[in-house]
């Protein structure tokens, strides 16, 4: 019992965080068709910035150095991390999103992310380079006077609350005329432009809102682990979020829940029982990535639209004006 509960709590935290991440990528790709191949960069941005807002000042003399170091309360640091990620989303979006060529998005996001990765991991004054941020006190523990296990349960609750807020953000966008326009742009950018839709602006909104959710997820990880460094956001991690979204089903947020459950819970759970083999330190992450890849291939073969496909919006779901007659259902197919 003493071991099981904290373990389940940890799984729940990763599940919740991955929900937020897949919803973020869903806003970018599932709604608006933006091929963001550097999603993890936004997660990192949220983690780093929430970290430097919450951490105390870094001192070069002690071998820890980073910008800011403001010792702000963690919830405010989380918001700052999310905002920083949203801004980065606009910056990368401005580089990658083009009115005439949408086929460059994937390669441009990947390239931009690689540049940022190189910069952050080598330029130590920013976030302490390869060593990264470390030493963040678990939030709320001092204030509430609780131990680490209690903190873990508290963090499950905190993540759940944040996750619900993110769910509302994602759902409200999806179900608004903005979401409809995003999906239209995803389906046919040029045709949407022919109806007066500014596809670059709309895709920038999707890019930055997705990045905000990524940043929130990153901040939650930062608060939980207390440390963050470049080993945690290699480009392979972007693939994990993509796999979760494709496996679960894009264009609807329940798909993201299923996908992150498969990828963040089932696969992790399955690889937990692999015994450590001496000399094979990377065995578990390797097997994990193989399992994720295999589930992705299986879904693409058997059910390419994902386990939960995008829901069709039926007409009776649309609110008509009061008093407006609703045409009888099931009239049959259109005559000539």
């Amino acid at each position: 019992m003493d071991l099981i509960l904290p373990y389940l709590a940890t799984l729940a935290i990763f599940f919740f965080v991955y929900n937020i991440l897949t919803w973020g990528l869903n806003i970018q790709f599932g709604y608006a068709g933006v091929l963001d191949f550097t999603f993890i960069t936004f997660v990192a941005c949220g983690a780093y910035f929430s970290g430097v807002f919450a951490l105390g000042p870094g001192q070069k003399s002690t071998g820890f150095e980073w910008i800011l170091g403001l010792s702000w309360p963690f919830p405010i640091a989380l918001v700052m991390g999310a905002l920083a990620a949203g801004l980065l989303g606009i910056v990368i979006g401005l580089i990658a999103i083009n009115r005439l060529r949408s086929d460059y998005m994937a390669i441009v996001t990947l390239a931009t992310g690689t540049v940022i990765y190189g910069l952050v991991s080598n330029y130590t004054p920013l976030f302490d380079g390869f060593d990264g941020l470390a030493g963040l006190q678990t939030p709320f523990t001092q204030w509430l006077n609780i131990n680490y296990n209690q903190f873990t349960y508290l963090w499950v609750g905190f993540c759940a609350v944040v996750m619900v807020i993110c769910w509302f953000i994602a759902q409200r966008i999806l179900n608004s005329p903005l979401g409809r326009t995003m999906r239209a742009i995803r389906e046919d950018q040029e045709a949407a432009e022919a109806f007066g839709k500014d596809s670059v602006r709309v895709r920038l909104i999707a890019m930055s809102m997705g990045a905000v959710l990524a940043g929130v997820g990153g901040a939650l990880l930062m608060g939980f682990i207390g440390a963050f460094n470049p080993a945690g956001w290699t480009s392979g991690e972007t693939f994990v979020v993509w796999a979760a979204l494709i496996v679960g089903g894009r264009g609807n947020n329940w798909g993201g829940v299923v996908g992150s459950f498969v990828v963040a819970v089932l696969v992790n759970e399955a690889t937990r029982y692999i015994p450590p083999i001496p000399g094979n330190a990377t065995l578990i992450p390797t097997v994990r990535n193989m399992l994720i890849g295999a589930s992705l291939i299986a879904v693409l073969w058997l059910r390419p639209e994902g386990i939960i496909p995008e829901a069709r919006r039926r007409f009776y779901q649309l609110p008509l004006l009061p008093g407006r007659r609703t045409p009888a259902e099931g009239v049959g197919s259109a005559g000539s």
Binding site: E190, A194, G196, F315, L318, A334
Partner: protein, 264 residues
């Protein structure tokens, strides 16, 4: 004929793909309130000209004036916001949106498209959608598409997609419709219905039309004015009857079949 009021004027428009001049010094005028046709042999540069006017292609040389303004450099979405709506030679429906949703995308100035309204005041979008959906029901009824409202647009037949294209265009409430072969690949009964819709829109909503069209019966029936293009150039302008007398036009496009009819 009343004093000409050019709604659209194209001057010395040219465009090449690589070294190939698809549109080469093309010049014509479209009078407000008319239904006009742009005709010409395959590869004459009609669709390219449509793309240039609509802002989907960058103009390399020449000018486009729309509604009294120079719009040569405007991108497609700004042209649409000025009231020019173009359709494509191949239907460009949003396949994974339902027919109904396809009709809710075009209307301009949707307040629910603002991020702040979407996040904090969803009722704004819902209320506007309610009004738009009611209008869309009427439009769908007019085009006989109402029973298909919940179908994915990608699943419609070719002819149904053509109807959807025009229904969507109507939802955008434009001032000018630039239709690239709206009747391509549909049966004669449906053609009669489509040209009825075009005339209705002109008469009721005062929309000016320019159609790219190969079906000369349709052109004859509904168009007031015809522009002929060949090899990227405007060859002639006038009524269908005038063009039949023009030996250049007959040689370039109308050919033998129509000579017989001109005689008969």
């Amino acid at each position: 004929m009343p004093e000409a009021d050019p709604f659209l004027r194209v001057e010395h428009l040219s465009h090449s793909f690589g070294g190939f001049k698809a549109v080469d010094d093309c010049t014509f005028e479209i009078t407000r309130g008319t239904i006009s046709a742009l005709i010409g042999p395959n590869g004459a540069g009609k669709s390219t000209a449509v793309g240039l006017i609509a802002g989907a292609l960058k103009v390399q040389a020449g000018r486009v004036y729309f509604d009294g303004h120079d719009v040569t450099r405007l991108p497609a979405y700004k042209m649409a916001r000025r009231g020019l709506l173009r359709t494509y030679q191949v239907s460009r429906e949003f396949p994974l949106l339902t027919v109904m949703e396809n009709l809710l995308v075009p209307p301009p100035n949707q307040r629910g498209e603002s991020l702040l309204n979407a996040l904090f005041r969803p009722s704004v979008g819902r209320r506007q959608d309610a009004a738009l959906a009611s209008r869309a029901v009427d439009v769908l009824e007019t085009y006989g598409l109402l029973p298909l409202r919940d179908e994915y647009a990608g699943n419609l037949s070719g002819g149904e997609k053509r109807l959807l294209e025009l229904a969507r265009a109507e939802m955008a409430s434009p001032k000018f419709m630039l239709l690239d072969e709206p009747m391509a690949g549909i049966n004669p009964a449906l053609i009669a219905r489509l040209d009825g819709h075009i005339r209705r829109l002109r008469d009721q909503s005062g929309i000016t039309f320019l159609l790219v069209e190969h079906n000369l019966d349709v052109v004859e029936r509904i168009c007031d004015q015809v522009v002929v293009m060949a090899l990227g150039r405007t060859l002639a302008e006038g009524s269908m009857a005038e063009l039949r007398q023009n030996p250049e036009v007959v040689r370039a496009y109308l050919g033998g079949g129509l000579d017989e009819r001109a005689v008969g």
